[in-house]
């Protein structure tokens, strides 16, 4: 079920904030990254939904996960954490920001 994400939209997003240029196939990588991240997000929210014993994923599930993960991702990047476990540890350290 791999679909093609609109490359133009992705490019637009990336270029929105910065005026830096995007490479040729970089937006493909952006899509890859997006997929991976969405995947992670979906899995986490699914887990969260299971915690509440609901079969469907609701908005608050996703929001709770995003809050954690987004900060975590940014943190991860900034702190240069490559290992996933370390990433989690860092999150805990920073009080699950």
């Amino acid at each position: 079920m791999s679909k093609k994400a609109p490359r133009a939209a992705l490019k637009l997003h990336m270029k929105k904030n910065t005026n830096i240029r995007i490479g040729k196939n970089a937006d493909l990588m952006a899509q890859l990254n997006l997929l991976v991240v969405l995947h992670r997000l979906a899995e986490e929210s699914r887990v969260k939904a299971f915690e509440e014993k609901s079969a469907t994923i609701k908005v608050h599930h996703v929001r709770a996960v995003a809050k954690r993960s987004h900060d975590g991702l940014s943190q991860l990047n900034m702190l240069g954490i490559t290992c996933f476990t370390e990433f989690r540890r860092r999150l805990v350290q920073h009080g699950r920001l």
């Binding site: 679909k3 990336m14 830096i20 490479g23 890859l32 079969a55 996703v62």
Partner: protein, 579 residues
Amino acid sequence: MHDRGILIECDSSLFSVSGLNLTLKTPFVEKRIERAGLQRKVSNRRLQSVDAFDEAVQRCLEQCPNQDQSVFQDGKTLEDSSWQKFTLGLSDVTELYVQSKKDDTMGPSAEKEREHELEKARDIPVSEPLIQEEKDHEMESQDEEEVVPSSQEDVYLRAEDDIVLAPTQAMTESLPESHDVELQDREFVEEVEIGNVVEIEYENVVETEDQEVVEIEDENAEEVGDEEVEDENAEEVENENAEEFEDKNAEEVEDEEVVEADLEYNDTSQYPERITRRAHRSEGGGAVLGIPGTTRVTKSFGAGLNPREKDLLDFVDEGRESLQDIPDEEREPLGSPEFPQLHPAAELSTPEQRSQQHEASLAEEDVPELAEDDDAQEEPNQSEEEELMDSEPANHSPEFPQEEEEEEEDDDDDDALSAELSMKTPAFVRQKRVFASRTAQTTPTVLKEVNSGPAPQVAKRAPRQKRQTGVDVLPKSYVMSVFKHFAKTKVASDVYPAINEILKKYFERLADDLEAYAAHAKRKTIEVEDFELLMRRQGFVTDTTPVNILIEKYLPMEYRKLLIPVATSGNKVIPKQRR
């Protein structure tokens, strides 16, 4: 990777689920197949297998759009309703048949059993022979007609008359088994030709059409027949009266059958129309056709009415020709081979065609094919009309979705919000356009014209909102589909705005990080390497999981080719392709 496994699992689970649905929903078909196997007669088996196969095919087709339940349910309901209706219509005929036809060769008990098993199959042949008869109006195949209608009736009226069942069973049984048997029966009826024709038709009908189709036909015939029954009954009565004196009672019965057949035929010919009617009237019938079918039918509904009436008249007068036409539309060629056998063919072909048509209509695919099938079919008067009607709605329906799709696709490409807005307006605008101009025109031009003309207000709104930054999010359909696929559980559609916000933030962060990476590499453009570094940092890529793995896992083929250099024939990997 586990991710890959998960993806695979999802697919398999989905497939298994669908498979379960199939098994649960297809008990009907299976039973029939089993029954067919039990039958001693080879012809029956053959017919059944074909029918079952057709049904299964139709079901599969129907299931694809996830209409399985509706289809199955409809099929069941159709059967029941058709039977009930049938009894109402054929009550008189059965009685007549009972009197005249007790001589049928087939033993009632044996046949009953077979009939029960072959109910569906019989419905098809029964309806067809009846239809054929109507057209003929002649006393031909009295035996067959009698038996056929009686058989039909028997199915419905089992409880009522055993005797009636016997003749009908004999008919149904005999028809598939061998023409000879029918011929014998026909001996009772002076005309032998008709019997052959009926037999052939019967066989053809049974073979070619799915039981469901037959049922539907019956139902259609029933429903439409109810309306027309009155007319036809009058005709039948007249015919009967005239013929009674002329020939044996069998003839009368035939006439009745013929009339009924006409009714049925009309119903079948107007199958698309009928189907829609059923949809309105009966719960089960309409659903079977499915959305595409209904659309087609409804569109031609109005047109169909008129031709139907005409058909009725034709049936009364000639009837045969129209019948044939309809079968032409049907895809199954089984009827055609049979036709050569029976020179009259008109009767046989038509019922077959009709049955085929029904099948086709059911499948909705057959409609276009229907026209192809009939070879020997005679006059296409009725069938042509129907075909035209069917083709027209079909044309319209595909046009309509195409138009919509085109617009939607364009919208998706644009910003989500603008896309949504544009999608909303164009949707009904498109609808207006579609209805306004049914003729097949180049969709894009039509769309452009309509878009530009009728909705200037909308156009004003769309471009303005497109520029809004708040709208810049990925298309909802894509995002939700991806999310659902990854989630593997139900996802509330309300989450989309939340996901949008998340993605917005994500993109911002992403751009910043990548900018930093590029600057670190003293480059002014973000390259793939930056992304690789990003993923490594995020923990998606480690020493054990190369980036290419992720690429293959997630991206579609076209993108993968771009990212991963493919070894050329010279066994050389050109890394430059990456850039």
